[in-house]
């Protein structure tokens, strides 16, 4: 998927997230993962770390070698997406406490991913 489509997808999911509050923490965390993954793929493509025809599904599923490269080139984006994905296990598929706090944390990570992607797209 190209930059324009990733941007359109991420922005539409973010608009949808605006309809939900942190009490809907499972849906918010999932939406942050979906939008964040589009920003993350845009960064991968721009950095030459993945072709537009080879979007990553989850940061966790990158090969060990690919993750090492991404960690060097896009450390903030990788850390942000990793954190969102970890919250899926604890608060979407799991029932660890403080779901709304986790949702707000996922949104902060999403903002970081958006900032990284838009910074690099306007540089």
């Amino acid at each position: 998927m190209n930059d324009r489509m990733h941007t359109a997808k991420a922005e539409r999911i973010e608009r949808s997230l605006g309809l939900l509050d942190a009490e809907a923490f499972e849906a918010v965390i999932e939406g942050a993962m979906l939008a964040g993954t589009h920003w993350f793929n845009m960064l991968l493509h721009r950095a030459g770390l993945a072709a537009e025809s080879a979007d990553a599904m989850h940061a966790e599923f990158l090969t060990a070698g690919a993750r090492r490269k991404v960690a060097v080139r896009l450390p903030a984006a990788l850390a942000a997406l990793d954190e969102i994905e970890a919250l899926r296990t604890t608060h979407v598929r799991g029932d660890m406490p403080d779901g709304p706090v986790a949702a707000r944390r996922a949104l902060a990570c999403l903002a970081r991913l958006r900032e990284e992607a838009t910074k690099r797209s306007t540089a």
């Binding site: 998927m1 489509m5 997808k9 539409r12 999911i13 608009r15 949808s16 997230l17 309809l19 939900l20 009490e23 809907a24 923490f25 499972e26 849906a27 999932e30 939406g31 979906l34 979007d55 599904m57 989850h58 966790e60 599923f61 994905e85 899926r88 296990t89 604890t90 979407v92 598929r93 799991g94 029932d95 660890m96």
Partner: protein, 154 residues
């Protein structure tokens, strides 16, 4: 997770589904509807004793669970018999499902199959297509509510 926890999660996710439009918010509608149904499916599978009501969470890797130490707030990876399923048929349970759960699983699979074209891919829903999606969601919720003996229709 426990049956009651799955039902609580379903109710929060179902309320979120109600705030989204399947055409305008198609990505988040699909994902949230799927997660709502998966929670009811897990509750129904536990209730039917087809899967275990374990205190563990499914990870992103099929068959790999995270077991919480609630006193310490930590997780440890674990592999054990299901347990929560991740999606309809994942993992396969190797035994026939009661009719209501089988029908619900087929409806859930329809929603899950929307992820590639509409969430990860660039397709936009054609006019009228979302009625089928909403019908599948309704079927899944109704069948699983029936299996669980709860009333969740709206």
């Amino acid at each position: 997770m426990k049956i009651e926890t799955h039902i609580d999660k379903f109710r929060r996710l179902d309320a979120a589904v109600a705030r989204l439009r399947p055409d305008v918010d198609c990505e988040l509608w699909i994902w949230t509807a799927m997660n709502a149904c998966v929670n009811l499916l897990n509750a129904a599978l536990h209730r039917a004793r087809l899967t275990d009501e374990t205190d563990s969470f499914h990870t992103q890797v099929e068959g790999l669970y995270a077991r919480p130490d609630r006193a310490r707030g930590t997780l440890t990876d674990a592999i054990h018999a299901p347990g929560d399923v991740m999606h309809a048929g994942q993992p396969a349970l190797g035994q026939p499902l009661p009719d209501a759960i089988a029908d619900a699983s087929a409806a859930l699979a329809l929603i899950e199959n929307l992820r590639e074209p509409y969430v990860r891919g660039g397709e936009a829903p054609a006019a009228g297509a979302t009625a089928e999606w909403e019908g599948a969601y309704r079927t899944c919720v109704d069948q699983l509510s029936h299996a669980l003996g709860i009333s969740e229709s709206r």
